[in-house]
């Protein structure tokens, strides 16, 4: 199908974009790479009255390293992340995950900000932000907020983002020498959304482990993180705390098993 009719606006900068969002009072939707929004509109599960194309908003672009963290503009495309020397050196976990996100043609347009705003529970980026202890920078009429990834995702396609707010960037601590990373994702076909996947970051003996594709959002399980360094078997028992998705692709029991397999493999292949 084709998308229903809408007004197309293309603000030249961030202030103009925020003013347009406020003016249309909940009826306007930002357009980033369009790799999720366009299919939703073509399916007619989304029918915004106004689209605000963020393509010309320079404030949302760029990757910079400031001291002990890396800032990635919301409109940074997956393909840019995959080639960026700062990302490859200082946020290696992103480089490990990117080949699993969709296909070339989608990665050439899709953006990090779009993926986080969408909050698809099977998407990789939200889980990466949890594992990396990232913060999401958000701007709206009431100013700028920096929200920890742990507090950003609420449920299926739901975040704390208000309708008049935009994600401007994510801020990620740079990898230290004592840190190592793991990633594993299980799909039916390469590039598909995950049936179960996991992103792991370890600092000394401390783990941050975020699962995706398994529940209503990317999730961490504190008891699992605390025990995994000593006893994997015991740690996996804490997967019981997740309310696993049960759908046509895989039932809850299968997903729980796959989550365990993904974690085991990710830990076997940790970077050193």
């Amino acid at each position: 199908m084709k998308a229903p009719d809408f007004d197309y606006l293309r603000p030249a900068n961030l202030d103009a974009a925020l003013a347009m969002l406020a003016e249309h009072d909940g009826n306007a939707v930002p357009l980033a790479g369009g790799q999720s929004l366009m299919p939703m509109m073509n399916f007619r599960v989304a029918a915004p009255e106004v689209l605000i194309d963020l393509a010309d908003v320079a404030e949302l672009r760029g990757i910079t390293r400031n001291g002990d963290h890396v800032r990635i503009g919301a409109m940074t495309r997956y393909v840019q992340l995959s080639k960026d020397p700062i990302i490859l050196a200082d946020v290696p976990l992103i480089g490990m995950a990117l080949p699993h996100i969709a296909h070339d043609a989608i990665r050439n347009r899709g953006t990090i900000g779009g993926s986080l705003a969408l909050a698809d529970p099977a998407a990789e980026m939200p889980a990466l932000m949890l594992a990396l202890d990232a913060a999401i920078e958000v701007v709206g009429a009431n100013g700028t907020r920096l929200i920890k990834a742990d507090n950003f995702f609420l449920s299926y396609f739901e975040t704390v983002l208000e309708k008049d707010e935009l994600i401007t960037a994510v801020v990620i601590p740079t990898a230290s020498n004592t840190q190592s990373f793991g990633f594993c994702e299980l799909t039916q076909r390469h590039g598909d959304y995950a049936l179960a996947g996991v992103a792991v970051s370890r600092t000394d003996a401390k783990y941050r482990i975020a699962f995706f594709g398994v529940a209503d959002r990317a999730v961490r399980v504190a008891a699992l993180e605390d025990t995994v360094g000593d006893d994997l078997e015991k740690a996996l028992a804490h997967l019981d705390e997740i309310e696993f998705t049960d759908d046509g692709k895989a039932n809850a029991a299968t997903r729980q098993r796959l989550a365990g397999v993904a974690l085991t493999r990710a830990l076997e292949e940790m970077t050193s």
């Binding site: 009719d5 197309y8 606006l9 790799q35 366009m38 073509n42 070339d104 043609a105």
Partner: protein, 158 residues
């Protein structure tokens, strides 16, 4: 208000300007307004790859990009790739290997495969399969397509 958008772009080396409905997607604009019917329309939600075109050097889903977003872009369709000779070797290999039957997927498959070849991809069957996993073919079973891509890479090396 802004249900129509003025755009200026380059398509296969020629300057084009048009006023398009904001909801018009790029592949429909190329097919219906510019009569470049080489790009096909399958699923219209980004899954099948039949609509793949090159935008500013990168392969892109023509059904997931608005014509309005293509303002100031440089677009190459399969017609352009054929005219400038870029797809000659691959098209010949597809013919040799019987890598198409109905041909519906072929323009998108060629565009994706060229991205792999020109990006320095090797004749590694697994890697090629991963790369074209975003392009559906309902006729060939993919083996012959992978054969054709390998042929082009191996010929270029010798």
């Amino acid at each position: 208000m802004s249900r129509f958008v003025d755009i200026k772009l380059r398509v296969n080396g020629e300057d084009v300007s048009a006023t398009v409905p904001s909801r018009l997607n790029l592949v429909d604009f190329l097919r219906n307004d510019l009569c470049l019917t080489g790009s096909h329309v399958g699923c219209e939600h980004g899954v099948c790859g039949a609509c793949t075109v090159i935008v500013d050097g990168d392969s892109v889903r023509g059904c997931l990009m608005l014509a309005a977003q293509a303002n100031r872009a440089d677009i190459t369709t399969i017609e352009g790739l054929a005219d400038n000779g870029q797809s000659d070797a691959l098209q010949a290999a597809f013919t040799n290997r019987n890598a198409l039957q109905c041909g519906f997927c072929t323009p998108g498959m060629l565009a994706s495969a060229l991205g792999y070849i020109d990006g320095g991809g090797t004749a590694d069957r697994d890697a090629i399969r991963k790369h074209i996993s975003g392009n559906y073919c309902r006729c060939t079973g993919y083996q012959s397509i992978v054969d054709a891509i390998c042929d082009v890479i191996e010929e270029a090396r010798t």
